[in-house]
């Protein structure tokens, strides 16, 4: 190792605290990025893989309207037209032993052409009827002829507590059936068959109450024979479509992209805070050695060598820190995965992820991000070091003087960056990543203005402090300004972290408030009744709505509609006579809009959909009906917080005109004034007894449930900003340590001049607390801007949601208090050190 580098290493090792904190900053920053990336990617990958397993070799899917595909179509395609490489699927969800599982109904005779896993079965025990199945030999026959015969993966069987040959109860659509585990789908652990139960299509149709219908037909069209696609397409009746299987999977995962992008942005915030920390550490290391560097320069070490020495130091730090961060991130990813996959389950699609799948790409990305951040933050100190003239041992004051000259310059560039951010916001339309970039630019720009703000604040505060706390306090406050090159960075780091907490808190609170208001307006009935996992029995509905105590009712049905532009949620609403739902219409006169909705086949679209497609009242939207595509007039846009890419609201009468699907999922009951909802509920329960188990919820319960899901979604956000704050805390600790160490001589002089250790410690503590205060104050405007950006730019661009900004002074007070306390705590150790150092020794040190 060359002497230069050995000197570097020696220096770093002599200052283990500095070294450790710098490494920790990089490490946590990288770890958060890696963990978030692993968690989101694992969820996404698990979903895609399970979809791939389920679609098998299918390249396309034949999809029908809300009720599925007529099974006669399948027979016709095979028997009349001789088409092959297709398999019918009847699919749905059922409950087995209290667990919600996916039921896949297949035709074994068509399976080989599409899927292979369903045939890879070990059935080594007894069938439910007691007939011994010694091998797989009776599998085909048993699956076809044994009532309720089912196959599942060993993991799923274990999860459900089932053994081969064991019988079990199945709950589907409020009805009970009997199933038996015929065999376990074998060996290949890469198959993601979690929570999947395979049965013969006849069983699936019976359990799911879909006789005559298929969920879809899986089709394989070899890439070499694209003509087959056209042949098949021409044979499909209106309302039935041939969709590309992979793009269907993609469009299902795409809905979650915005969610995941936001998480990634949050993780970058942690690195950004880490960046200040690294800068602090590296530049401190340079300052400490300014004498040594001066001597080295005098001895013939060139500017370039000095520059690369410091950069190499940064690189080494970055490498060690980032590597540790990657490892920590893998570990952390496991925990985040639970949170992320739960939110995805709540909001987007069912996914069972048991393991983090570690992708090399993610790790490399994390490593590079860490290295890059370190290098960037080492460049300025490296330039500084290279600028030292030979032999001149720069005094601290020279540095500060130099730094002071740049403060206005920094502020100026900060303002420029802020303006650039606003410009970017303006020109980037609804682009999410551009929006996030602008947010980061704004944060950086703001950070650059902080030193100037600190100078102004100390200028204003120092006399006041002197009056209040005497010389010590005045020194403490003015010391901040005097050491701005040090303290400024610490303040910025903490301010950015705290502002993030403000921004996110304000956003979440505003969001929650808006959702809550929206729920209040939307939930207009007193009681909501549905059957679990199936439409309500029509005969039962007529009886339920005539129950004593019920004044009026509305009904709803939710279906997925496959459209050329992607899947859409269709809400079918039958309004109670003479009533309009409370949904807020954003772009039309409500009475007129509802009239068009009820009587002129008009539809309403949700705000996210309107935003995404640039549609609104007066436009039309094309929907695939049972008789083909049809353009519907949009009579209004309603406020909505749906996450699935947007919904279309249609009246029952319009729906019945264009789709053959009389099913009703739930009814909303308005009770007679004075009627006790508990009484009505027990009456309803009595009617439904032995017919269809009802799920009944009051409007308050639904509200509560919805908000619970909402809160759960933001747990991960909480976790992320606490991590960012943790980095900031480390940053301020490191900065204060560095500052006190650097000022050891100055402090020793103060001791020598008669300051007691207690006074000295008090001064240092005061200083850090004031730094915290400054950070908190700086964080308030930044936090508010961030909240505004999150609400008006990010959420809007990501999800199309609009919300009312809700600002509470508590959020701001807590943020400021937090930053003072954090800084105060970070100052305890440095002040103890300062107080306990021997003045004589300290003075000799330089």
């Amino acid at each position: 190792m060359p002497a230069l580098y050995r000197a570097s290493l020696g220096y770093l090792l002599r200052h283990p605290w500095q070294l450790a904190l710098a490494l920790l900053g990089i490490c946590i920053g990288v770890a958060v990025i890696v963990a978030v990336d692993l968690a989101t990617e694992s969820s996404r990958k698990a979903f895609s893989l399970s979809m791939e397993t389920l679609t098998g070799k299918a390249t396309h899917q034949v999809i029908g309207g809300p009720r599925g595909v007529e099974e006669s179509l399948y027979v016709q395609l095979r028997v009349k037209h001789g088409l092959r490489s297709m398999a019918p699927v009847a699919e749905g969800r059922v409950r087995i032993n209290g667990v919600d599982v996916r039921l896949l109904g297949i035709d074994l005779f068509a399976e080989r052409q599409i899927r292979s896993f369903s045939l890879d079965v070990t059935a080594d025990a007894k069938a439910a009827n007691g007939v011994s199945v010694t091998s797989v030999e009776n599998l085909f026959g048993s699956l076809l002829t044994e009532p309720g015969a089912a196959l599942m993966s060993t993991e799923t069987a274990t999860m459900l507590g089932l053994q081969t040959g064991q019988a079990f109860d199945v709950e589907a659509g409020g009805k009970r059936f009997r199933g038996s585990l015929l065999g376990q789908i074998g060996g290949d652990p890469s198959l993601l068959l979690g929570e999947l139960v395979v049965v013969d299509i006849a069983v699936a149709q019976q359990w799911l109450n879909m006789a005559g219908k298929l969920s879809r037909i899986d089709v394989r069209i070899p890439a070499a024979e694209p003509g087959k696609r056209e042949v098949l397409e021409n044979l499909l009746p209106a309302g039935t479509q041939l969709l590309d299987a992979s793009s269907r999977t993609r469009s299902m995962t795409e809905m979650s992209t915005a969610f995941m992008t936001n998480l990634s942005a949050m993780s970058l915030l942690a690195l950004l805070v880490g960046l200040f920390l690294i800068y602090n550490s590296v530049s401190f290391a340079v300052l400490q050695r300014r004498g040594l560097i001066g001597v080295l320069r005098a001895l013939g070490v060139s500017r370039a060598q000095t520059f690369s020495l410091i950069l190499a130091e940064g690189l080494a730090l970055g490498l060690v820190g980032a590597t540790a961060g990657v490892l920590l991130g893998i570990w952390l990813g496991d925990y985040l995965l639970v949170l992320v996959s739960r939110s995805i389950n709540d909001l987007y699609f069912r996914v069972t992820v048991t393991d983090v799948s570690i992708s090399l790409f993610t790790l490399v990305k994390g490593l590079l991000a860490g290295l890059g951040a370190t290098l960037v933050s080492a460049v300025i100190p490296a330039i500084e070091a290279a600028s030292y003239p030979p032999r001149l041992a720069l005094s601290r004051s020279v540095i500060e003087r130099r730094g002071r000259q740049t403060v206005p310059l920094l502020a100026l560039s900060g303002v420029a960056l802020g303006l650039a951010a606003l410009f970017l916001l303006n020109i980037s339309g609804s682009h999410l990543v551009a929006g996030l970039t602008a947010v980061f630019m704004l944060i950086l720009g703001f950070a650059l203005c902080v030193p100037l703000a600190v100078r102004i604040m100390t200028f204003l505060l120092a006399p006041l402090a002197g009056k209040l706390g005497g010389t010590g306090a005045r020194l403490a406050v003015s010391g901040i300004e005097a050491n701005l090159s040090r303290t400024g960075v610490a303040i910025v780091a903490l301010a950015v972290a705290v502002s993030a907490t403000i921004g996110v808190s304000v956003m979440v609170e505003s969001f929650r408030g808006s959702v809550s208001t929206w729920l209040d307006r939307t939930l207009q009935s007193d009681l909501y009744v549905a059957a679990s996992g199936a439409p309500l029995d029509p005969k039962l509905i007529t009886e339920l709505v005539q129950t004593q105590g019920v004044a009026a009712y509305s009904s709803s049905r939710r279906v997925w509609l496959e459209n050329p532009q992607g899947r859409l949620r269709l809400f079918v609403l039958q309004l109670a006579p003479g009533r309009y739902p409370g949904s807020e219409i954003l772009d039309a006169e409500p009475a007129q809009a509802w009239n068009g909705f009820e009587h002129e086949s008009g539809v309403m679209i949700s705000e996210p959909l309107a935003f995404r497609r640039g549609l609104g009242a007066g436009d039309t939207i094309s929907l695939v009906t049972d008789s083909g595509e049809r353009a519907f007039d949009i009579v209004g846009t309603f406020r909505s917080y749906d996450v699935n890419g947007g919904a279309v609201l249609i009246s029952r009468s319009s729906y019945d005109r264009f789709w053959d699907d009389p099913a009703i999922d739930s009814i909303g009951l308005t009770l007679v004034a004075g009627a006790e909802s508990a009484d009505v509920m027990s009456r309803l329960q009595a009617i439904a007894q032995n017919r269809q188990p009802l799920v009944m919820r009051s409007d308050a319960e639904i509200r509560e449930l919805s908000l619970r899901v909402f809160d759960r979604t933001f747990i991960i956000t909480d976790v992320l900003y606490w991590l960012a704050t943790g980095v900031a805390f480390i940053g301020i600790l490191g900065a204060m340590l560095a500052l006190q160490m650097e000022r050891a001589r100055e402090l020793a002089v103060m001791r020598a001049l008669g300051m007691t250790p207690f006074q000295l410690g008090g001064m240092v503590t005061t200083q850090t607390a004031v730094i915290g205060l400054f950070s908190g104050l700086a964080a308030v405007p930044l936090g508010l801007v961030m909240a505004w950006m999150l609400i008006e730019v990010i959420n809007r661009r990501a999800f199309g949601w609009r919300m009312d900004i809700l600002l509470s002074w508590q959020v701001l007070a807590v943020a400021i208090a937090f930053s003072v306390v954090a800084a105060f705590m970070a100052g305890i150790y440095p002040s103890w050190r300062a107080a306990s150092s021997s003045p004589a020794l300290a003075m000799r040190e330089e």
């Binding site: 028997v79 035709d107 074994l108 080989r112 030999e137």
Partner: protein, 381 residues
């Protein structure tokens, strides 16, 4: 007459998409649980066209068509098109399930084999289909007669081409893009009941028998597509119909089945049941049909068969490759040789079924012929 025993030997594991699951399917379908199924114990009264249709009270059944064809320039082809029916559970006569149940529910399974021998180019092609006997995916009916697996069918001819309605005026429509056959069949001989009035005893055990009839000559004309080329062909086909609920006895290994159409207008069917020890089972039997359609039962004692050559399957197993058949009571001496050695079908089961040429003499007069031979129980893993 294959199908009696569908648990012959495993199909190779690296099979095509259609045959991949075959081994298990064959194992399943060979499960020996005849309880509850109808049994062929005594002769029955055959009624047509009813008996052309399915007999779901029996466990297995098949419609077996083989034939020799050629185009106007003498390009030689052989074909086999067979549809098997299997009942997975004993027939209960139960009516359809209550409302809400699925049309897919069934215990009837249909499998079809289609093989073509291109005699001139020395190529052999096989395709297979299977489907459940529900929803019209596969099935059989007697009036009008039709048996089908997806878009492969044998059905009573209708329309002008049929030349008026007649029960044994059928049309085969089978195949896919590269291998296909459309053939109009017209019975030239009456329905022949094999065994004793159609009851064909296969071992000593009572009930180990089938109902078995044939139409030994069906004039055939149509089109065949093979190797990307289409040919207009004509020739003669043979129909075998058999249903039962039994399988081979434990000491039986397989059989050699001959269906030969001779130049003097007569036809010879003979099946040689082989025991596991290599000897000939005494239940081996045959039928000789004269040119007027008059049948005569042939017992094992009347027929002498010797193998004069062998063929080793590249997939395992040694098959006989040529035969000499003597029926002294008929003055018949025949040499039977395949037009192509490898006519082995790799489907759910592996067996040999191929077009053959016949040369020989009857009462000293030179005689020729064509036909089909089926060999089971030879394949080894």
């Amino acid at each position: 007459m294959i199908g009696h025993n569908f648990r012959l030997e495993p199909a190779p594991s690296a099979a095509s998409e259609e045959t991949g699951s075959g081994q298990r399917l064959s194992e399943l379908l060979g499960s020996q649980r005849p309880e509850g199924y109808a049994i062929a114990r005594q002769p029955r009264v055959f009624t047509f066209p009813r008996d052309h249709g399915p007999h779901p009270e029996f466990r297995n059944e098949w419609w077996y068509l083989t034939g020799n064809l050629e185009d106007e320039r003498g390009h030689r082809f052989g074909y086999e098109f067979t549809i098997f029916r299997f009942s997975l559970t004993p027939f209960t006569g139960e009516v359809a399930d209550p409302v809400g149940s699925s049309e897919w529910k069934t215990d009837q399974v249909y499998i079809a084999h289609f093989a073509v021998t291109d005699g001139d180019r020395k190529k052999f092609y096989v395709e297979q289909r299977y489907a459940r006997g529900a929803l019209g995916l596969a099935g059989a009916q007697s009036d009008p007669f039709r048996v089908w697996v997806e878009n492969w069918s044998i059905a009573e001819a209708t329309g002008q081409a049929a030349g008026g309605r007649s029960p044994e005026n059928w049309r085969i429509d089978v195949g896919a893009d590269s291998l296909a056959l459309q053939l109009d069949l017209r019975a030239e001989k009456p329905i022949i009941l094999n065994g004793v009035d159609g009851l064909s005893q296969k071992s000593d055990e009572v009930g180990n028998a089938s109902y078995y009839y044939s139409i030994p000559r069906l004039s055939s004309s149509g089109r065949i597509r093979v190797g990307g080329e289409q040919f207009t062909v004509s020739g003669t086909s043979w129909l075998d119909r058999e249903w039962s609920s039994s399988a081979l006895a434990d000491d039986q290994q397989g059989w050699d089945w001959f269906a030969l159409q001779l130049s003097d207008g007569s036809d010879l069917m003979y099946y040689n049941l082989r025991k596991t020890d290599g000897s000939q089972d005494r239940h081996s039997a045959g039928t000789w049909i004269d040119k007027n359609g008059k049948a005569r039962h042939l017992s094992r004692d009347e027929v002498q068969i010797s193998e004069t050559d062998e063929w080793v399957s590249p997939r395992g197993g040694t098959y006989p490759g040529r035969w000499e058949i003597k029926v002294p009571s008929l003055g018949l001496v025949l040499s039977v040789s395949p037009i192509l050695p490898d006519q082995e079908l790799v489907t759910t089961v592996r067996y040999w079924e191929g077009a053959v040429d016949v040369e020989g003499s009857r009462d000293g007069q030179s005689i020729r012929g064509r036909g089909y031979v089926e060999l089971t129980g030879y394949a080894t893993p």
